[in-house]
Symmetry: D2
Subunit: 376 residues, 4 copies
């Protein structure tokens, strides 16, 4: 890295946040940038406390994000947006308009129109707008993408995507919901979708990232199983991809006992692959006429197959890297882009927008009895 260090501000990520600390640890692990300003919580005391804990100067802790952007524009290299869904769009928009690069949590916005607007805005302002879909940051996912690209799997025919969580089964519904679950079930904070917007977007992104195909049409069946939940917490989605491929996604918040059950399978006419996050340091490739192969993160032969997979590893095979490291890979590539790097490999506005179009199509299909709906 260069001698002149990068600096950033954060909106959200106060006490009780899951993803805010992940951004900070990911950035810190590789020492990519210093946190110099923030608006961590709408609660003034909590905001101050988090800032102090993180070593942010009191004068750069702001009571609202508008003040932060106004005051910090020109002083920081980027803004990390870690708030609930409903404020992603206005914050990202304001930051971009003020000339600030943004790393914005998914979903990028509540509607496709907003996402498209942000994508265009970033392009026009020549700013970087990243959306850290963690899973494409895993080295073995990058290897998967590169194996598909190289033709190792042949023509892709079918994709299976599953992302099963049981988080809504850990809630005691006889008590008030905790903060994190409360906003996810609240249409005002979460938007019109819960499970599809929260984790289905990861699945949609991964399908397009790994296969290089586009999701063209989907037919969705959405359900609400958790007590009192008005948004979707379980989804089953059929897909037609470009080049005649098909796909299926299942995703859930009510899959009791599942922690973070993300698994991707891609079937080509020459070979197939399977990657699952809970064994994320491995990638399996299966053949009709030969033994199954298990590739291992950062093993000696990886570099020859995927330069970016190698580049996104820190420690030797067998010593596992996990979620935070994958997240950090996105930040490494994002920071490289900030410094003018080319071919940096991380999800940006386009990927953010594609996944919102996916959410919109899922909602439309579900409202029409699982009819086939084209992505805008």
């Amino acid at each position: 890295m260069s001698k002149s260090r990068l600096t950033y501000a954060m909106v959200g990520g106060g006490k009780g946040s899951f993803i805010g600390p992940v951004h900070r640890m990911a950035i810190r692990m590789d020492d990519l940038a210093d946190l110099v300003a923030g608006c961590f919580s709408r609660d003034a005391a909590g905001n101050a406390a988090t800032g102090a804990e993180l070593g942010v100067s009191p004068e750069r802790i702001y009571q609202d994000w508008r003040s932060l952007i106004a005051a910090e524009s020109g002083k920081i290299d980027f803004l990390a947006v870690c708030t609930p869904n409903d404020s992603h769009y206005p914050i990202a928009k304001a930051a971009l308009e003020a000339g600030v690069n943004v790393m914005c949590e998914k979903p990028l916005s509540i509607s496709s129109e907003e996402a498209l607007e942000l994508e265009r805005l970033a392009r026009r302002k020549k700013l970087v707008l990243g959306v850290p879909f963690t899973y494409s940051g895993y080295p073995m996912v990058k290897l998967a993408r590169d194996l598909v690209r190289s033709g190792e799997l042949g023509k892709i025919c079918k994709v299976l995507m599953e992302y099963q969580q049981g988080s809504f089964r850990k809630i005691d519904f006889s008590k008030p919901l905790d903060k994190r679950n409360a906003w996810k079930m609240d249409p005002r904070r979460s938007g019109r979708s819960c499970v599809v917007a929260d984790i289905g977007v990861h699945g949609a992104h991964l399908i397009e990232y790994v296969t290089g195909l586009e999701i063209r049409q989907i037919a969705a069946d959405l359900s609400s199983f958790a007590p009192g939940n008005r948004l979707d917490d379980d989804a089953s989605i059929l897909m037609k991809l470009s080049k005649g491929a098909k796909a299926v996604m299942v995703t859930s918040k009510i899959a009791t006992g599942e922690e973070n059950g993300l698994r991707l399978r891609v079937y080509g006419d020459k070979a197939s692959l399977v990657w699952q996050v809970e064994e994320g340091n491995y990638l399996h490739v299966k053949y009709a006429f030969g033994p199954e192969r298990t590739y291992k993160r950062n093993a000696p032969y990886i570099a020859g197959l995927s330069e970016v997979s190698k580049r996104c590893s820190r420690i030797p095979a067998g010593h596992h890297e996990g979620f935070i490291e994958a997240f950090a890979n996105h930040y490494r590539e994002f920071c490289a882009a900030l410094r003018g790097g080319r071919n940096c490999d991380f999800p940006q506005a386009r990927e953010g927008r594609r996944t919102i179009q996916f959410v919109d199509a899922a909602l439309k299909s579900a409202s029409e009895g699982s009819s086939w709906v084209k992505l805008a």
Copy 2:
């Protein structure tokens, strides 16, 4: 077993057959019945050779199944039907009409009407008509069913069924197809469906067997990916089950590198379970608030949870039983029923008919753009 041994005849199961030998090994392993007559092949020489190899007296080897039924009715305890799909119905019908109990390979027939007719015929004649859906013969599937019944999983919300094979990827399409694949792709022998009728029926049966719920409506997307194939070789199916539950099935013959990838997951509001045939001696149960549990076939605690799971095991935990043993379990229960046993646990005409209704609904839905179709 009783002193007086049972006897049976077989139609089909000649040279090159996969399932015929499985029936014979399954029956033999537990010494349930003696094979005394057969019509193993339409090829006279092959028919005679198979009969001789199996120790069947030449005078009880028949050139066609009609002669066999005519001659053997009253002399055998049951007929095993192991022919391609198109002849299941006429053979089973003729045997039942002649008063012969039948174990008939799946799919029970080509159409729902035929299946319903066979079901009624068996009931009217007070005969046993078994359909050996292998997977419900696995002791751990029986345990799964009994755990669901006992309420361990709570209310069932979602079911995921996958049955992925890559058999059509092992074919060299530049050469004439071998016998086994040829008939599976031939609408005249296989019926109107390939993958759904061949293995999707296993999935449909397992869902209903384990959950005790009924498949009510389905929306199917069927594809034909194998070169020259006119029937479905890949299917993605959404389902609405009774009591508000949902399900998804994916099944394929073109899943390169998959051997027999059957996996069932059942999510209740208290716990969930997963069983996969390639680790068939284990059953996993997951909880929101406690560690995952792995049950092992015939472990000391099984009997207290599922008497039938215990009954369907031969050897201690850790010494694995597989496909043939599961098949044999169905024959054990079938033979017990022939001897007048009650509460015998094996799939019968009803299960055979339900799965054909599933196939019919899948074909109808696919022809209507994946519309929701009720099972007849």
Copy 3:
């Protein structure tokens, strides 16, 4: 098989026996031979009942094995010996002397001298004396052996063998022991060793079978952890093999919660392999410079790597075969040998004798403070 069927008699295998029924199911599954005579139990009523249940004519059910051998010699093709350890030697000896081929349960005898005597006796009488060490009957173990032979692993340096059972932890020691455990802990029935003689012999056999190397010297630490047990129920054994290789075996009856935890790892200078019985349909091969490979039983590519592995499979990959099938493979090869076949692949007197020498060396080493002891 030939038209003229084989026949056999069994000693042992009465009510409560684990291994007797396995012999019978294994033989029956492939319809290799008919059980025509037996002495199943020293308890007259039980003996008669078992015989009746198995369809043996009352006049061919004997009160003692000596009478059986005297009466059946010349009438049967072989004798299956399924009694506790102490009577293996006298029964096998008497049968061989009477000209009867024998399949004798392990351990072949209580002492190396007895084993050597049986080996010489069989050779002199030109009779077949098989010892069904189940695990070398698994198709993937045969593939492992053939991969080593082909040089795929390079020069073998290190072997890890583990065989962990928890059976003695399932015993309620406050009550009288059941029959099966009682004799295993009784030096008069079991011999001077428990765990090494009962399951350690499987491990010793597998090491020599798969690597083609000989166990030359061992240093053993034996323990007795089960309450009241005077024989070894846990063993840790260092080994020096031929050609400079080393090995370690751990085996136990007190490994709480283990069912049948047998795992073999072989490290060569080019590649290594791992096979474990609880995932017995797979074989893993690992390389320094390429992805791990997982071979699957009876997959299309197996025949080209190991003809015998292919020959010892019945059903397609993905449809699992288990313990009984592996056992049956030994009987298939044994019966082929009875019919004059050559290069039949099953463990015989030599393998039986080698493993007894291993037991003797382990006992000697343990009595000398884990000193290195040569195999006789």
Copy 4:
């Protein structure tokens, strides 16, 4: 953490180092301390370059560690020692004598005497001397320890420890060795042992950490398989632990295809456990009379079983933490101790010394034909 930040210096960890960057990432991830001084390499240019890259002021980059300690004593909170084995002792000794807390890579020293001296020195000076044996930093290892402590496993009888690497199989011995491998095979840099001192010490530490028992006597068989290697690169070690328990360790650098195959199994008379680093977010517990249980890192029920396991997790179950996070846990506890915390859970001088005594005993036993040798 407190407002006043900690600072540290590093010796070693220059270009090509594996463990130096791990220390830095681990410290940085949780933002525990700032690197302010260093002596990263004996090569002056490399030293300067690494320092610059890490943002260390040029005046605090030192040409030798003695100068660093002399100049920085009193200015830094601790020194991280990441050099090859031979310099651990002199550096740690000098730092402690100068009043500097130390985190010193394993092995703590080349001989037991040196280790004992360091332990006493740290105690006398009331300084903290940590030795970051990574694996006891894994949350599931801490849970394992706490389950054993709670009596869940009953009386511990047997422990199996394996740590298999294939790193010496990735070397092209026809070329000069790279730096990292060269010193590991060089008795002047590595000490008298290679594999036991390098990774066997992790195993010895884990056994004592998890079981709470002491290794009393060992009998070792050491081998050198890699071409030209004069030190041990493969070891098989029998152990007698306190309270009558037994153990076996196998560890290797020549286990072709293994990456970092560390697995610990502990057998008690009530239950057993298995933990392996390549599935490090899980812990399996097996019972004689109930299903196996799989505990998952940071699942809701963990806190109730092990407060420290919970404390050492950052992100939810299912989002995996790996090697760097485990390392960071040791630094968190180490830094807490620097701030006066009590009951901090990380390996210290005592653990460092115990493992060197283990190495010494292994070397002595091997030189005496695998005789039993007591740990000093």
